[in-house]
Structure formats: structure tokens, C-alpha cells
Symmetry: C2
Subunit: 246 residues, 2 copies
Amino acid sequence: MTTNKYYDIYLQLKRKIMQGSYKEGDLLPSENALSKEYTVSRETIRKSLDYLSQDGLIQKKQGLGSIVLNPTLFSFPISGLTSFKELSDTQGMQAETILLKNERIKVDDVLHKKLNLPIGTEVIAIERVRKIDDQRVIFDYDYVNPDITGDIPDARLEQSLYDYLETELKLPISFANKEILVESVSDKDREHLDLRDEDNHLVVISSHVYLEDARYFQYSESRHRVDRFRFVDFSRRQHSLEEHRF
Amino acid sequence: MTTNKYYDIYLQLKRKIMQGSYKEGDLLPSENALSKEYTVSRETIRKSLDYLSQDGLIQKKQGLGSIVLNPTLFSFPISGLTSFKELSDTQGMQAETILLKNERIKVDDVLHKKLNLPIGTEVIAIERVRKIDDQRVIFDYDYVNPDITGDIPDARLEQSLYDYLETELKLPISFANKEILVESVSDKDREHLDLRDEDNHLVVISSHVYLEDARYFQYSESRHRVDRFRFVDFSRRQHSLEEHRF
DNA sequence: CAGTGGTCTAGACCACAGT
DNA sequence: CTGTGGTCTAGACCACTGG
């Protein structure tokens, strides 16, 4: 339960859209009408609607109103920062984790390039293989800052790293820079994953993860068998009045 | 030139961050200080800062201030809705387009599944191959609603479709649902693209594109040779106080 | 024309950081 | 404690849409 008016209203409107009380193409009640209905100011309503808009649930049009969009394509929240465990929970996949490594190491020159940390810095290196429907299809590497987390119990890594960090350590994970590439399969990939003969490539998702106070906290690399990868996104066009060149 | 205070201030602050007037880890002036500096209300400043935050340029922390983040990773705006032409312009690649097809067709059952349009609907089908550094590495399919665009001159398709739509037709392209998958190479892919022996797969980006009034307008499928694909994203964690199950 | 969303203000109170 | 960002208000004016 939150205590924010705008967030409560956002959730209520979201539920109504998801449940079909408002259908695709319908207009929401006007901002003035909503502000009366919920007895809040119009600016508060506008903040709630901004959230719906960012979710891709409505489209606002000046002079007309807030058009309800089709929420069906929206069921995969793979965009944003979401952990494997959360995904397998919401998607109802049968999933299992194999822990290969969980130890402190020093950053060498190879890691240096990936992590942007000085050579010799101590990090916790974690290697995990993810099994979905009895096939090993994802290879996860994580490097975290031990000054922030301390050592991490093996048992927690077989569940969710993020759950441990947020629930147990109360670490406020906040934002990430993410990159998606396709890379060639390495010998190590082939050893630990169930790959088919035609699999020459893996989809690799690399993330630099930061805490709320903007401290650099974790680098992760998640290597997916290509047929098990899917990325869904809702995006708005930036009408570029601005200069992009810097 | 815009006439919005919050947007002007956003651009000014953005420029200062990009140019290094504010460095990584610095705090921006407080909201009160900024509102005095620009002689606007604090809410207006907050709107500007919201934009910077969405861009991943600052991180706000209650009680502390707005922390400036590292803008270096941020130079690839492949996220969002961006056309091939815009990308090749900003990235300075040597690029060329080969137009294979530009004609009205009727939706058949195969297209029906992709477009979510009734069988028999008339659409403009466009097929283009993109050459980068003399190699044919991207195959683009576009299907647009002819009621909205009318026929499209061949010459314009060798440039940018989006440029034509926005500059010439003044169509307000607004948002899209996008999906990224990896698919097997088809015979048609192999015929039109310069693929290497080991290329069994392509990265496929599918988008459903809508106008400002939420009318469905275009479906596009962009098939990339895997080594020429890169996707960069900045994401904030949704602290899920909320239910994701619907 | 009346009604819609878009921008902006001046003020208030609260929750949180750092000292 | 002071200063920070977070929430919220009541009102104003503007730009746009539709009839």
C-alpha cells in the first residue's frame, strides 16, 4: 500500500484498463472530471496519467482527451530492469539455477575493459547457468562490488540475486545502462549450455547497474540461446527539435 | 526553437552536462536555486529535471540533490523510434538503400498474423535492402496504410521513409510497440543480403507504429545481420509495490 | 463555440541527507 | 537543525479539437 495519491490513482486506472472497463479506443474521463471524481487537484491527475502514458496504456491528444490503447502486447515486461527469477515467476516457466562459481577475484585486463574498474580491484564473481524446461539455455555472469554487499551465500544465488540484495540487504537498486549484442559461441558456452548444432551465436545482454546514490554496483552479462531470447519495448518518438550531436 | 520554458531549460542543462560544465558525480544546483536562476517556478524546474532523469543524465536523491551521471555510454540513441537514415546520419556510416518493391497489395493470411489487419485490406508493401560500407546487411519490410499516406514516390524511399512522412506529409508519428527476436535465415534473406557462411540467424526488429491520434499506421520488420546489430538502453528499476499480474 | 489537454505559478507541507 | 527533493493544491492562461 502506498500513500501517494497520484500513484494510487494510477494503479486504479491501470487496473480498469487492464480489466477492460475502458476499452481500446475509448476516451478516459477528462482531467477535470477525474480530479472531481478523486477529489484531488488536476496536476495530481496529470501525474497519474503521465505514468499510464509511459506504460503505453494511453495516448493523450490535446483538445481531445486520453485515448485508451491496446494493452495486450504489453504483457511482457522484459524491458526495464527485471531479474531472471522475477521473469520466470511471472511467466510461469519451470526454471532452475545451477551455481558454477561464487568467489572473490581481482580484476584482470580482460575484466577491466568490461567493468570499467581499475585492474586489481576486488570483485565478487558469480557464474550461473539457467535451466528452462530442463534445457540449459542462459549463462549469467555477475560481478558485484564486495564493499557494498559483502560475501553472498551460495543458497541465495540459486534463487534470485536481486531478491537477496533488495529484501535482505535493503540495497536500493536504481538504474542501469544496458546493451544487447549478438556474439559467437565460446567453448565455455558450449560446455555449459545445451546448444543445437546450428547455434553459432548467442544473444548477450550486458548491464552496468547503479544504486540510488549513483554508486556503481554491478556488472552483469547474460548469454541467451537465440531461440529463447525476446525483447519487447514500448517507445515514443522523440520529435527532435533538439540537437543530437555532441 | 521551442517556446516552452521547461524544455528550454532542459536543453540548456543537458548541454552543460554533455559539455562537461557539470561533471560526473557533481550535484546540480538545487531546485530552488535553479528556479531563481531561470526565474521560473520550482515545478517548472522539476519538469526539466524529469527529462534529464529520463535521459539517464542525472539521478535525483531526496535530501541530497541531483547527481550528474556519466553521459559517455549514452551516445547511441538506438532506443526510441529512430529510422535507418537518421542513424546512418548520426553515426556517419557510409550507407546506401536498394529499393526492391513499392506497391499496393492485399493482406493475405501470412501478413494477417503479423499486421493484425483483416485479410483483404489494402496496404502499401515496401521492401528495401540497406548497404553499409558496401555490404548488404539489413533487409527492411514496411507495410503502411494507404488511406493515410497515399502512394509513396520511389525516390523518397531511397532516402528516408520517416523523413517523407514527417516533413512532406506532416504525419505525427507518435509511438510504437517493438519486439526484438532472433530468427533463422530464409532463402530470401540469403538472396538479398551478404551473409557469411556461419550466419544461420538474423536479428529481427518488428514494430507496430501509431500516429498521435492512436491510429495504426505502419508495420515494419527490420532484419539485421547479427554482427551489425546493437541495442543500447537506459532503464530504471520499477520498485514493484504494485501487482504485475493481470 | 465549449471542452479538452499543455504550461506555469506561488505557495504549502512532508520525508529525507548531512552536519 | 538546515537544506534538499517529493507531493499536492487552486488557480490562471494558452493551444488545440470537435461540433
